[in-house]
């Protein structure tokens, strides 16, 4: 599977590393090249591209035209939403997953047909369960 991951933070880098180890063709994008050396292991075999994922030219450089999947994991909800919609509606990437922290915005984009992940809801639920555990 050819995957593009936008955002090389903790989640992005861990996902990129795991998918790379499983033998996928992985490209990771970040506006800050320092993030690659900070979070990716030396063994990472994928491509690292410095650039902004809401810029279509950067996405083309990352190989979006024949990508099987695109994942948006930057710290900015709006950035994730915009890049995911470009991937889905302009480049017709078959599988697009978008992280959105704001639960209200997440619900709206889910209704509009994006595959969205809401870590705020998931995190809250997990913390609550731990608090209430025997």
């Amino acid at each position: 599977m050819k995957v593009i991951i936008m955002g090389c933070g903790r989640v992005g880098s861990q996902l990129a590393t795991a998918l790379d180890e499983e033998g996928n063709d992985v490209t990771i994008l970040d506006v800050n090249a320092h993030q690659f050396s900070r979070f990716l292991p030396d063994s990472f075999g994928g491509r690292k591209i410095t650039g902004n994922g809401i810029d279509q030219d950067v996405l083309v450089r990352a190989g979006i035209e024949d990508a099987d999947a695109f994942v948006a994991l930057t710290a900015g909800d709006n950035r994730n939403v915009m890049a995911s919609q470009i991937a889905k509606h302009i480049f017709e990437v078959p599988r697009v997953v978008c992280r959105i922290y704001d639960p209200i915005r997440e619900q709206m984009y889910k209704n509009l047909g994006l595959r969205t992940i809401a870590p705020t809801n998931v995190g809250t639920r997990m913390v609550k369960e731990e608090l209430e555990a025997e």
């Binding site: 810029d55 709006n78 915009m82 919609q85 470009i86 209200i104 915005r105 709206m108």
Partner: protein, 220 residues
């Protein structure tokens, strides 16, 4: 009209000022508290401090009864989301977004934003009009994927000497008029014979720009 403006920077501020002077009801949503206080001082209590991309804030200012929402922050992604929230949560009939990257025009239109304004495109088209090696100048992007362009017919072009009625243009392209070398506009008569130095004004699908350029400017 009730107009909601997202972003109280220079663009948002002067838009609000002009619209208030034309007796519209205006509300500006600005995230930065000191900037929003500044605007309130000059324009009165027409500012709400908050994130204009959030549905809760848009709800507080009554976006559901807005006739128009203008998203003019400096960030394309914020303007996109603000317009989408207005459209999909509050059914605002018309949304306008400011964009920096001209390439975002297409994606914004595809995603239902009614109109985009790009300072980059406007400046670029001004520059292109001054350059002889830019025979095709986009003048205005319309809704529904069309644009109005001006194409200068070079001397020695394949189409020079041909009447307008015999031109092979890309599909769904229509000639709106011809401006001759002296600058006189003329109605698009099928019998009008093109000459080098003419400028042809065409309405065409945005994606046909390249095909149109080669149809009208390729040399014989």
């Amino acid at each position: 009209m009730y107009i909601v403006i997202i972003g109280g920077g220079q663009v948002g501020f002067y838009l609000a000022k002009e619209l208030v002077e034309s007796n519209h009801e205006v509300l500006v949503i600005e995230e930065n508290p000191s900037r929003s206080a500044e605007i309130a001082e000059t324009l009165g209590e027409i500012v709400m401090c908050g994130d204009g991309c959030e549905a809760a804030i848009q709800e507080q200012v009554g976006t559901a009864r807005a006739d128009l929402l203008l998203a003019v922050t400096g960030e394309d992604q914020d303007n996109l989301v603000a317009c989408q929230v207005a459209k999909h949560v509050f059914n605002v009939p018309r949304t306008v977004a400011r964009i920096n990257n001209p390439k975002n025009e297409l994606i914004f239109r595809k995603l239902g934003i009614d109109f985009t304004v790009s300072a980059t495109s406007v400046i670029l088209s001004q520059i292109e009009q001054e350059l002889p090696d830019h025979p095709l100048i986009p003048l205005l992007t319309l809704r529904s994927g069309f644009e109005i362009v001006e194409v200068k017919i070079p001397n020695g072009a394949r189409v020079a000497g041909k009447p307008l009625g015999e031109l092979a243009l890309p599909e769904r392209s229509i000639i709106w008029g011809v401006i001759d070398a002296e600058g006189t506009p003329q109605a698009p008569d099928a019998a009008r014979v093109l000459a080098g130095g003419d400028a042809v004004v065409v309405v065409a699908p945005v994606e046909s720009e390249e095909a149109l350029r080669s149809a009208l400017t390729e040399l014989a």
